[in-house]
């Protein structure tokens, strides 16, 4: 049973050049507790697929032409805006690429996190461990405690004091951890991560990936990991879907797809990735010395 099932999703975007279909029949199924990689190049539609799941594509200029998105049996395409808002906070979490633009520089981390926690607690007070009729003060204290715990879990040392710092005092990797903690406040069942490690150095990226993989393992979490980096998919994901020109061209178990690709585009993409084993080009130094 899949937690998320996208069938034949078609999305058109309107612009000066007329309406172009950017997703033309995306099929994607994500099983419970999977880490599903969605990999593709610029313009493949991978980010729009992610945004479509939480219905964050602005319409207009976007327009859905057809298809269904089922999350835990519920059709998200027909869900009301109110239902979507509830889902976004509680069931579906999102992490975006650039941690600097997703944290408001004017507020302390605590202000931003506690705000989300209190909001989540409105529908489910249990989440921060309080009764529905607790006082405002008790709510605040509990919400803060929950945020401090989460920051500790994502590997921020001394979270009790660091939570009151401003975002600019954190490094890029630390900010991305804060965003992960934020996305986890509502204990979502599905986490959509759109290029969460692209802006990070490789050594920091490895740490963040390790963190994400341990979260999926230890919690009841399913993750969609959108990236252009096949190396990251190979390291982290259990399944992978390769997207090209608004369509999933190949999907399946990560070992099967990356080791024995069937689709010609997948093969092409894999062969273009540079690794430490890529043969170095033969150099034709005929001209060398002639100009000097």
């Amino acid at each position: 049973m899949s937690l998320l099932e996208i069938n034949g999703l078609r999305l058109a975007m309107r612009s000066f050049d007329g309406e172009t279909e950017v997703l033309n029949g995306v099929d994607l199924a994500v099983g419970e507790n999977a880490i599903a990689g969605v990999v593709g190049e610029t313009g493949s539609g991978k980010s729009l697929t992610g945004l479509s799941i939480s219905r964050l594509v602005p319409t207009p200029p976007g327009r859905y032409l057809g298809g269904t998105i089922r999350f835990d049996g519920q059709d998200l395409m027909t869900a009301s805006e109110e239902e979507m808002r509830r889902l976004r906070g509680r069931q579906i979490g999102m992490i975006f690429q650039d941690p600097t633009t997703n944290l408001n520089p004017a507020f302390r981390i605590s202000t931003q996190m506690v705000d989300i926690a209190l909001n989540v607690a409105k529908s489910d007070p249990e989440l921060i461990g309080i009764q529905a009729r607790s006082s405002r003060r008790a709510r605040r204290v509990a919400a803060r405690q929950r945020c401090v715990d989460l920051l500790g879990q994502v590997g921020i040392s001394d979270p009790d004091t660091r939570i009151d710092a401003y975002p600019h005092t954190f490094s890029g990797g630390m900010r991305q951890r804060v965003l992960i903690a934020m996305a986890l406040i509502g204990q979502p069942r599905l986490l959509i991560a759109d290029e969460p490690t692209t802006a990070l150095d490789v050594s920091v990226q490895a740490q963040v990936l390790e963190l994400m993989s341990s979260f999926v393992r230890e919690r009841d979490l399913t993750m969609i990991f959108i990236t252009h980096n096949i190396g990251v998919v190979a390291q982290l994901c259990t399944d992978v879907s390769v997207m090209n020109a608004g369509r999933v061209v190949e999907s399946g178990d990560v070992r099967k797809v990356l080791k024995n690709p069937e689709d010609s585009y997948t093969k092409e993409l894999l062969s273009a990735v540079m690794t430490r084993d890529t043969p170095r080009p033969a150099r034709n130094r005929a001209a060398a010395g002639a100009v000097a």
């Binding site: 190049e41 490789v202 252009h228 096949i230 390291q235 540079m274 430490r276 034709n284």
Partner: protein, 276 residues
Amino acid sequence: MTILQVENLTKHYVTSGGYFDGRGETIVALDDVSFDVRRGESIGIVGESGSGKSTLSRIILGLERPDSGRIVFDGTDLSTLSKRELRAICARIQVVFQDPYASLNPRMSVRDLIAEPMEIHRDILGMSNAQITDRVAELLTLVRMEEDHMHRYPHEFSGGQRQRIGIARALACKPQLIVLDEPTSALDVSVQAQVLSLLIGLQDELNLTYLFISHDLAVVRYLCQSAILIRKGKLVENAPIESLFDAPESDYGRMLIGAMPDIDPDRSPFRLKSEA
């Protein structure tokens, strides 16, 4: 044979400091960095963000002055030159920046963009407008674009095409040394491969020397004959590519090589952990 000598380069920055105390911290961007670059070779300069690799490229490009140390280009010590002489050297050292979207002025046509270095150095080159236009056409062909692309504007092109425009601009004054500041890291892998093969072809054809600044060891390995690793302003390793990959001498080198993404799922460190 040596075209560029970097000798004991040191650069400090003072941050603007806190709101109240006003005292800034001193950040060491480069600490006593020395290396040589041979003509016709590609040398990779590898480091993570904040390592000082960008400062190094800015000093070599003459955009910043070092606190101490010197740069000798083709036998001339750059610090002894007058402003005018330095400007002339600019024609021989060119740069291609990482971000092909930000490095091209959106209000200029491709012709004007590529023509700009020739217009700046008109006093040395002595080219008429018609000659410049001809040269732009020639350069566009050289980077495998169409001649009539010259009348379009940057936003009409894809990332890879824009990077070709950037490369054509860098080639305009027939430079000897090109600083490539992460020229492919903003591009898709398939486009990256095309740009790299273009760079390699141009190097062989025009006997260029590349200073390739990158955080991506795989790309450095593909393009360069040797590499320098920089960490927190210090040079930690300077070795030919083969020996760097076969037997890295520094811990940092081992760490970087270990963190290189691998497309084989069976070599993933956390997968092994989670499936154990």
